[in-house]
C-alpha cells in the first residue's frame, strides 16, 4: 500500500484557558496525523476539548485560551510559528473550517452570494460581479443548491441549506483539508444524511482531507475511516473505524459504544455513571479512573501513553500496556 503524504501532523498540542481560578487544561498533550484525502474523525463528549482543538488547528484560539505548547504541521510547516498575515493567507485556501453552529453565523443582512464572494475577494483580490456570480453559482450546484440561492438571505433558507452554504464557503478556495466541527448537530436525521452526503461528495471531488469532529458515533461510523477518541483533553484511542467498533480497546470507548441506543434491542440501558473530572485540577493519573470498571492502582498514579496494541490501533490504557509487557 503506498504511503499517502501527511497533510496535517499535530504533536503534543496543549491549549489551556487561564481563569481566575486557575488554568483549565482543555487540550492536554494531543498528537495525531491526517493523510491527504483521508476521512479522519475525532469523537468525544461535551467538555472533552475537541472544539478547542479545532479552533487551535485554525489558530482561532482567543483569550483567555492560549496555545501552551506543541506543534501543528500543515503541509510540512509548523503553523504555530507563522505570523498573523501568513495565517490569514492560509485560512480558507489551505485549511478551512466549518465551525459548530456555522449556519447561525451567516450574516443575516447580507445575501448568500456576497458572503461567499467575500471569501474569494479577500484572498484573490477584486473580481467583476459577473465572474464571481458564475463561479459562486457553480459552487452552489456542487453542494446541491439551486442558482437562485445566490441572491437569497440566510433567513430564507432551511437549516440544511444554510449548512450546505457553509460547506460551499469551506471549499471555495479548494483547500487541502477541511475541519468540520459537528456540522450536522442541529439538523434532522434525513437532512443530516443529505448534508453529510454533500460533504463527502465535495471532499472526494477536491481530493481534500476531512477532519470530522463530533459526539455522534453513528455519523462517525458512516463517514470516517480512522478515528480518535478524546476524553478530558487527551486522546485515549486511535484506530481504523472498523477495528474500533468491532474491538474497542479503551474502557471509555467500550462503554460509550455500549451506551448507544440500537434498533435491535429495546429497554437496553447502559449509560456511564459519574462525570468527567474538572480540567481545572485534573487528577494525577488517568482521567477516566473514577468511572472505569477496570480501574487498577497504577491508573490513579499515572496515565498510560498511547501504545500500538494492534497494527494501526493505539490505546492509552494500562490494561493493554500490561499485556504487552
Amino acid at each position: 500500500m503506498t504511503e499517502r503524504k501527511q497533510i496535517l501532523e499535530v504533536k503534543d498540542l496543549k491549549v489551556y484557558y487561564h481563569t481566575d481560578r486557575g488554568s483549565v487544561r482543555a487540550v492536554d498533550g494531543v498528537s495525531f496525523n491526517v493523510q491527504e484525502g483521508e476521512n479522519f474523525g475525532i469523537i468525544g463528549e461535551s467538555g472533552c476539548g475537541k472544539s478547542t482543538m479545532a479552533m487551535a488547528l485554525l489558530r482561532l484560539v482567543v483569550s483567555p485560551g492560549m496555545i501552551e505548547g506543541g506543534q501543528i504541521f500543515l503541509n510540512g510547516t509548523d503553523i504555530l510559528t507563522l505570523d498573523r498575515e501568513l495565517i490569514r493567507k492560509i485560512r480558507w485556501s489551505q485549511i478551512s473550517f466549518i465551525p459548530q453552529g456555522a449556519m447561525n453565523s451567516l450574516n443575516p443582512v447580507m445575501r448568500i452570494g456576497s458572503q461567499i464572494a467575500d471569501v474569494i475577494t479577500t484572498h484573490q483580490g477584486y473580481q467583476p460581479e459577473k465572474v464571481l456570480r458564475k463561479r459562486i453559482q457553480k459552487l452552489l450546484s456542487t453542494v446541491g443548491l439551486p442558482h437562485r440561492v445566490y441572491r437569497m438571505y440566510p433567513h430564507e433558507l432551511s437549516g440544511g441549506m444554510k449548512q450546505r452554504v457553509c460547506i460551499a464557503m469551506a471549499i471555495t478556495l479548494e483547500p487541502g483539508i477541511i475541519i468540520a466541527d459537528e456540522p450536522t448537530s442541529a439538523l434532522d436525521v434525513v437532512v443530516q444524511r443529505v448534508v453529510m452526503q454533500t460533504l463527502l461528495d465535495v471532499q472526494e471531488r477536491l481530493g481534500a482531507a476531512l477532519v470530522l469532529i463530533g459526539h455522534d458515533m453513528g455519523i462517525q461510523a458512516q463517514v470516517v475511516n480512522r478515528q480518535a477518541v478524546m476524553y478530558a483533553g487527551k486522546i485515549v484511542e486511535i484506530g481504523e473505524v472498523r477495528a474500533m467498533y468491532k474491538n474497542p480497546l479503551h474502557p471509555y470507548t467500550k462503554l460509550l459504544i455500549k451506551s448507544l441506543p440500537t434498533l435491535q434491542l429495546r429497554h437496553d440501558f447502559h449509560g456511564i455513571p459519574g462525570l468527567p473530572p474538572s480540567l481545572l485540577d485534573p487528577p494525577k493519573g488517568c482521567a477516566f479512573s473514577n468511572r472505569c470498571p477496570y480501574v487498577m492502582e497504577r491508573c490513579r498514579e499515572a496515565m498510560s501513553k498511547l501504545v500500538e496494541i494492534q497494527p494501526n490501533h493505539f490505546v492509552a490504557c494500562h490494561l493493554h500496556s500490561e499485556v504487552i509487557r
Binding site: G160, V194, Q220, R242, P261, R266, D268
Partner: protein, 337 residues
C-alpha cells in the same frame, strides 16, 4: 345502536374517560389574504391516552412536523385554531379554576434545554421550593426538605451533592434529572417530555431514559415523549405516532412501526438513522428537492409526493387518509388502500 345500549355506552364512557384526548386538533399560524403566509402546523390531529395502564407514547417527527406545536397546545401554552384538548373528559378551554389547578398538577413537562430553564441567580433548590409552596405539598421546612430529597433519590441523584448548588455548577444530565425529580414531586399522571435527551451527552442518555421507564413502571406515570430521534423512541416507547408536515404518517406499536415501517416517509426516516457500525452504511442516496426545503411547495395531494419512490397519480389528488394495516397500526398512504 338501540337507545338502551347507547345509554350504557355513555355511562361506560364517562367512567372511563381517557386521561388525555386530543380531538380534531388543527393549528394554523399566520394570517394573510388568500392563505398566503399561512402555515398549517397541525391538521385534524387525534390522539387518546388512557392513562391506565401507564404508557410511553412517542410523537416523532422532524422540524416542521408539528410535534412541538402539539406539546404547547396540550400544555395550554398555545390555543388551537380548531379542536379541543380534553383532560379526564373536560375540555381545557372550559375548565373551572379547580379543575385547571388539578390539570396543572397532574400534567407536568420536561423540556429540551437543561440550561435555559433555570434562573441562574438561585440555587437549584428553588425549583422544588416554588412547586412545594404553590401546591402546598409540605407543612414545614423539614417535610419540604424530605420530599425534595426523596425525589432526587428517585432520579438517581445524591441530595448532598445537588442541593445548595447553582445551575452552572451542575452538568446538563444532572439538571435534566432535577427537572424530572421536580415533575415527579407533584405525583403527576402524565409528563410531556419534549426532546428531554437531545442536548445530553450520549453516555448519559441511557441513564435518563431508564429513569423515564422507571417512573412509568414504578409510579404509574405516562409519558408523551416528543423526539426526532427514533432510536431513543424505539428504546422506551410503547406506541408511536410519526408526524410529517402536520399530519400523521404512521402510528402504532413502536417496535413494529420502527422495525418495519410501512409509510414511505417513515421508511426513509428509519433508513437515515446513522448506525454506529461501519458495516451498516446508509443505503443509496437521498435527494431533497429545494422547493420542499423552502416550504414553497404548492402540491395539493400527499405532502411527501416529491420524494416518494412509489408515487402514483392518485397521490396528487388528495392527501391520503389513514388506512388500517394491522392491529392498531395505521398508515396514511394510498399504497394501502
Amino acid at each position: 345502536m338501540s337507545v338502551q345500549k347507547e345509554v350504557q355506552t355513555n355511562i361506560l364512557n364517562q367512567t372511563q374517560a381517557p386521561l388525555l384526548e386530543v380531538c380534531n386538533l388543527t393549528k394554523v399560524f399566520g394570517s394573510g389574504l388568500l392563505q398566503r403566509g399561512q402555515k398549517v402546523a397541525l391538521e385534524n390531529f387525534y390522539m387518546s391516552i388512557q392513562g391506565s395502564p401507564p404508557k410511553i407514547i412517542s410523537i416523532a417527527g422532524e422540524s416542521g412536523s408539528g410535534k412541538t406545536t402539539l406539546a404547547r397546545i396540550i400544555l395550554g401554552f398555545l390555543l388551537p385554531t380548531q379542536g379541543e384538548i380534553r383532560y379526564q373528559g373536560k375540555d381545557l378551554k372550559m375548565m373551572d379554576q379547580k379543575s385547571w389547578k388539578i390539570f396543572r398538577r397532574e400534567v407536568q413537562a420536561v423540556f429540551q434545554d437543561p440550561y435555559e430553564v433555570y434562573n441562574p441567580f438561585y440555587p437549584i433548590d428553588r425549583v422544588f421550593e416554588i412547586v412545594i409552596q404553590k401546591f402546598h405539598l409540605a407543612k414545614n421546612r423539614q417535610e419540604s426538605r424530605r420530599i425534595t430529597e426523596e425525589a432526587l433519590v428517585v432520579v438517581g441523584l445524591r441530595p448532598d451533592e445537588i442541593l445548595g448548588k447553582y445551575p452552572h455548577q451542575l452538568s446538563g444530565g444532572q439538571r435534566q434529572r432535577i427537572m424530572l425529580a421536580r415533575a415527579f414531586l407533584l405525583k403527576p399522571k402524565l409528563i410531556i417530555a419534549d426532546e428531554p435527551v437531545s442536548m445530553i451527552d450520549a453516555s448519559m442518555r441511557a441513564i435518563i431514559l431508564k429513569i423515564i421507564m422507571d417512573l412509568k413502571d414504578n409510579f404509574g406515570i405516562s409519558f408523551l415523549y416528543i423526539t426526532h430521534d427514533l432510536s431513543t423512541a424505539f428504546q422506551i416507547s410503547d406506541d408511536i405516532i410519526v408526524l410529517y408536515e402536520g399530519l400523521v404518517a404512521e402510528s402504532g406499536d413502536a417496535e413494529i412501526v420502527i422495525s418495519s415501517p410501512k409509510h414511505p416517509y417513515v421508511q426513509l426516516l428509519v433508513g437515515s438513522i446513522p448506525i454506529p457500525d461501519p458495516d451498516q452504511p446508509w443505503q443509496g442516496r437521498v435527494e431533497l428537492p429545494p422547493e420542499e426545503e423552502l416550504e414553497k411547495d404548492t402540491l395539493r395531494g400527499c405532502k411527501f409526493y416529491r420524494r416518494c419512490p412509489y408515487k402514483m397519480e392518485i397521490c396528487l389528488k388528495n392527501p391520503p387518509p389513514l388506512y388500517n394495516i394491522g392491529a392498531d397500526h395505521l398508515a396514511a398512504c394510498y399504497l394501502y388502500k
